[in-house]
Symmetry: C2
Subunit: 186 residues, 2 copies
DNA sequence: AATTTTACCGACTGTTTAGTCAGTCTGTAA
DNA sequence: TTACAGACTGACTAAACAGTCGGTAAAATT
């Protein structure tokens, strides 16, 4: 019954299927079961809708990650937990993953304030700093380390999404690749 | 004077700046210094232009990589050479890199025959197979290994493109990350 | 030299699209 | 019971767009 949400849901589905500009606002409204004007009641422009959708997805992802993250015994366990959580998020939210993938490489991404991005990355960076000072992690710039780690999870997500594995096999791949990642950064 | 090429060049530049659908064909023609109709003389539809551009870039990249690749002494040297060549290609062809990045995550990509993709990957896969049988590379599925390697170069490209490093520093980062990659896959 | 094919032009069009607007309906609070 | 606000509608419009077409001129083929 929440029309705003229905609009976002339909937009997500259609954007992934047809791309941002391949999807007319009229189709989004129709699919969401609302009038054309309603869409513009909630979102000033189509661009604003695209950006709102990205922000919404990012915050839901952040929530998921914070929920999944307990306090682990060792440093390695903490990193592993983060790694696994972010991979599972993508597996459980395929459309959302595909959308962010598309969004990040699009010109829209330039409209997201770099400050906000930095902000959301800080906890991660801090964790890496800690690992470096404890001489667990290789002494490389944290933003480089972060790029390498996130591009690895990114690639793994693409791999898992394009194959159909059993839960067991899937988990196997995830832990194998984590060990490989660990070998890379330590 | 080659109008087809001029159209492709302008399309590349504009697509990266405004996105596929954010760029009208009229603007591409104008920027290329040709008439509107000429664009449709060379490319039946706008979609055909997008795809032709992707194919063109891919073949130029393949050419570059084959030119850069000599026969190296050791297996590790061969892999390193490939790694370095593909990173430099992106650095020397930023627009092209950005475009393929955008293309691959777009719904257009579905129109590229999977058979052709497989074809172009085969030499790489064979090289990895060889590494596994010689017990140099970890015994993991080659498509997984390939995904991990290419997502790493991908991430590194993004990193290098978003920082301005001196040639020396740049090379430093590239060889450091190669060693990290090597640690991951062996 | 005659004929056909190809490269190229740019004005034009039918359609699609983002966004508007005048107004209805529902809840709520004075 | 009236007054107001905000959600919601869908017909509408102005602009933008992909693609067409009738035509010219040069190149290639006969």
């Amino acid at each position: 019954m929440d029309k705003r949400k229905q609009i976002l849901d339909s937009a997500l589905k259609l954007f992934v299927e047809y791309g941002f500009h391949g999807t007319p606002t009229s189709l989004i409204a129709k699919e969401a079961g609302v009038a054309n004007g309603t869409l513009f009641h909630y979102f000033a422009t189509k661009d604003a809708l695209v950006i709102a959708l990205y922000v919404d997805i990012k915050s839901r992802m952040a929530l998921y990650l914070s929920e999944q993250t307990g306090t682990q015994k060792t440093y390695k366990d903490t990193i592993r937990e983060q790694y696994i959580a972010s991979v599972y998020w993508a597996l459980e939210n395929k459309l959302e993953f595909r959308f962010t993938e598309q969004f990040k490489t699009s010109p829209f991404f330039a409209q997201i304030a770099p400050k906000e991005i930095e902000e959301s990355l800080k906890p991660f960076y801090d964790m890496l700093y800690a690992g470096i000072s404890e001489k667990i992690i290789k002494p490389q710039p944290v933003d480089l380390l972060f790029t390498l780690i996130s591009s690895q999870t990114f690639g793994l997500n693409q791999y898992l999404l394009s194959h159909q594995f059993s839960k067991t096999k899937q988990h196997q791949v995830i832990s194998d690749t984590f060990e490989m990642l660990w070998a890379m950064i330590t």
